[in-house]
Symmetry: D2
Subunit: 346 residues, 4 copies
């Protein structure tokens, strides 16, 4: 049994990590931290956990908390992550972080897109980008894993086989992404009110969303060349779910069947990546509540352009599920331990 | 390991039973039957099961199917259930049925409310009503269990402590019930179309819904007297979830705290019944995806009337979850085996 | 042309009043007031009004605003209404108020249920309760009209014929009400966030909602005796819409057809009250976007109990539509001027 | 007063045309036709119309119907349109058709994409494409107007200024489109069931949707060269609304402000086209229930690529609203007669 602490437990990502780790056979949640609900039981904040998980939220006294676990999952805003995580690292605690703080190879890119000064630049280089399908081996031994954003996970896994095999014109990549509202977190902004969001659809952060830089970093590394992409996020009136519709011009003529074969081969050993058969397209509800990502591929022969559709649960493979997958790797457990369940469909 | 067969597997209840039994540590799904999708894989009908549960649907050749399992869960329409189940019983297969066919003590009540002639009246008396919180011991040894409807489960468990303790005027009971749309099954009626149901709320079956008779049968048995109730079902624009708002005049003065104590005592040993503390009311999303039923109690002192609020997942405790709970009892497993997970909240 | 001012224009009720009055043939919106968006155009706050209604929000300098119109519609919180409206009344401006401030015959009832001291008790007696179907004549000449709450409108109109004809046991009335989320206004509470509300259903304010007192006041006046009711509001995952399911024991035996006749007769001259034929029940979407209220009646012969179902749009007949209906009466226009459009269905 | 007949009145488009024409000051709906509901009142099929529009549906006896009106709006499937419309044209009735039948300059393109033989090819050439912003003058005198599809309307108006001014590389156009479910019509397919659609998002018809050919035809005419585009439709869990996110590489460097100026100039006299100011993006709910189309423009300077966002109501400017706009032109009424109302926002 590994003792795991969750810092920032009462956001949606923290809540989902509790749900997953609670039924994980090799993990014991030994401490949970939240500043606003200190002293309250998690099941008072999230009543679906009543009689299931009754632990109290602690305040963040770093020394006291650090003793309680070997691995800590952080689900805090960027600023807080940068201020607090170094203390945990210094005391040899292993950390999985959900903020953007440690996802970048180059602190300057972070500072440019996030428009803040990084508070812990010295820790950036030691961090491993927590996408197991790409960085599995490094994650196993990492002390600090920066869990990818939901949009980057969905985009990178959708594009990786095309880039690895140099199948597309890398200047032509367009990622049109749609997210459920829980991706914004447990916020009370007017924009995320029920009456404002139901029965409406919109884009946001057009040509300026900071996940663009994270996607570009990883795609460039996969391709071995500098890549820039159009990335446009949208909000759909649903709670969970993400779909990326990705367009790229093919470098040479290919048909749908060929590309599906390449994807199936590329992801042959990946439990969580389901490449769909020709003629099928993913739906977000097929992944909701699970750690799966479903990928469909269609070649438009008329245009010699490929359209890749990748779907996942923004709280699952896009956040908490991926964190558990990373945790399994770090602890030497089979990678899908505690993650074998399908979603709920309904 | 117990081999379980599921007959009528491609409806929403069948799908949910697959989801639950697939991760059940003591159960092996050994055969699944559906007439429309014979030869297709379950994961082609429900793509969330891809790579998780790939079994093919068989046609219903009774002899061939019967050999494949010891216990069969039926999720078929009433007529089909009555025609097919007797053959399974005769061959000593144990059956859990989701239709209304075997829920009644008196075949005449069934025939009156369902407006059909019962095709297997001789099997009605041997059936046990599958509500573990009331009939636990009989279920353990039953050959045929009639799983209750979702509305009856939510209503009966909401009212049982009041009736057992004779706390209310039994002529005053009103059950105002609200269900998510999945309660109607995987139907293609115009009424259940997305554009027709979203952003709308309505009652249906007012003063005539057949679950009324099922509720009355069980409440009467609990109270030891003939009880009639008002029962009004409604449809809310959501997929899963059920809330009953139950009104009854108190026989003598009681306050909220007293009644909550009585409920907590009554359900003291019930894992799946969560009686809420004073001041809290249930929400359907706290139970969605789980086998829990949440019950809140408020006394209106001005009127000496109690309002009970009971919430569950119509596909969970209202159908598939309850079937697994019943299966656990029939097989001698701990009652919450495979059912310990909380719902998803989101 | 009547000049109308709207005070508190940027909430949902204010927005809807703008929508209705903008296409009203006899009304000119001459001034709109909001403190938070002073100087901004209404179409910047609500972009659906772009190119349609471009007026700027003014701040509430009472003297300056008062000169701009003859009639003012207020959509402010209670405290603000009580502080500001008297100044308008003193200057002979006619006022339609949406707060609870002036709805009560007895200030003590208001203070007890709203748990505040009333700041303008002297103006309570001059106010007319703005339900045209009951107080049409008084509204015509009123200086101050207190627009009813959405729940009271839906409840009172659903019950009025039964009480006027003394058809029910007045101690047995139970009102189970369901509202869309816009009824809470343009609030940013966590409870009204999209991810928290979608796919969930719950009650709130059980046995304590302040609209209970408003409903009881008006039902008592209709019946000529003191009436107390159970009133339980619920939230459904939709933006607009309200359905009351009302239960009452019949004083003597009646069937559905008889009661429908009585309702049709009672509302014979009412354009906005649609009494449904036997066998039909209302749906909120049939009224959404309109000023109609649809009423269905079912007698449960087994119990000699009537179930009345009344549906309206909480922003329409439950608020802004009713305000325009009242305004028409006050100005001597045909009562349905600017209100003849059906809702949108979808 | 112009007498208008509606053929195929009980679908969603027919219903919306009734709603709009019912309050149109210059139009009298003189006959409505539907084969399935012959003899029933429109308000029995759509109860929101009760007391508002009580006309009975007639069967389609062509001779009898033809006498009743001067202009007919058709909302029938393609096959039916092709079989019936010629008879109306021959008798000098003017027709506005919503099917795909008469939208193409080249019958072969229609037959290739719709995979059927056209039943009335001789009438294709006389038809005018019913997009007033492009073909206003021809529409005024047309005998047969082919109302555009919702996707083409949203795409073409989003791209027209770019093509007219030759601002983009025409080989780079990608249209990522999202529609509400009502776009599929009043169908009962499983795919459009509430439980299947709520809380899910998916693409369909990838690289094969027949609206692609309609979009390409009109874009090619605007640009004066043969254009091919990627067009990918998606379904969002909402009833009304459409958003196109359109990508194109700029032919030379331009910034956002310049392009917005060009759009504003291009649509200077268009009442229904609202070009948004810099920094604003459209939302479908701002157009729902109206005939407006909102267009936002963002230039991604890093990539020299423009992203155009165009939003409309698929039943409004995408269908019924546009039909009324066309009707106004054909009859010589001011173009926005009966169409001045904003949408509902909520």
């Amino acid at each position: 049994m590994v003792n795991v602490g969750i810092i920032g437990v009462t956001g949606y990502v923290g809540m989902e990590i509790v749900r997953l780790l609670h039924s994980h056979p090799e993990v014991n949640i030994s401490v949970i931290v939240n500043q606003s609900f200190t002293g309250m039981k998690m099941s008072d904040v999230y009543p679906h956990l009543k009689n299931v998980f009754e632990m109290e939220c602690r305040s963040l006294d770093i020394e006291g908390v650090m003793d309680k676990a070997d691995i800590f999952v952080f689900a805090l805003p960027d600023t807080a992550s940068q201020q607090i995580i170094p203390a945990f690292i210094e005391k040899n605690r292993r950390v999985i972080d959900h903020s953007g703080s440690f996802r970048y190879r180059d602190v300057k890119v972070y500072e440019e897109w996030y428009k803040v000064k990084h508070a812990a630049p010295d820790y950036v280089n030691m961090a491993v980008y927590g996408l197991p399908e790409i960085y599995r081996d490094k994650i196993r031994t990492a002390g600090l894993v920066a869990n990818p954003g939901c949009y980057p996970t969905c985009s990178i896994l959708g594009l990786a086989p095309l880039l690895a095999h140099k199948l597309v014109d890398t200047r032509s990549i367009i990622i049109n992404a749609v997210s459920g509202v829980s991706g914004a977190g447990r916020k009370t902004d007017l924009m995320y009110q029920f009456s404002e969001r139901t029965e409406s659809f919109c884009a946001y952060g057009v040509a300026s969303h900071r996940h663009t830089s994270e996607i570009e970093q990883e795609l460039s590394l996969l391709a071995g060349e500098k890549i820039r992409v159009s990335f446009t996020p949208h909000l759909a009136p649903m709670k969970r779910g993400m779909l990326c519709t990705i367009y790229a011009d093919l470098a040479e003529e290919r048909n749908t069947a060929e590309l599906i074969d390449i994807y199936k081969e590329y992801y042959r050993d990946e439990f969580f990546v389901r490449v769909l058969d020709e003629g099928k397209v993913p739906e977000t509800k097929h992944t909701a509540g699970s750690n799966f990502i479903d990928i469909g591929i269609v070649v438009d022969k008329r245009l010699n352009r490929v359209i890749v559709l990748s779907a996942l649960d923004n709280l699952g493979k896009g956040a908490a599920g991926q964190a558990v997958q990373v945790l399994n790797l770090m602890c030497g457990f089979p990678e899908n331990t505690g993650l074998k369940s399908p979603g709920l469909y309904l």
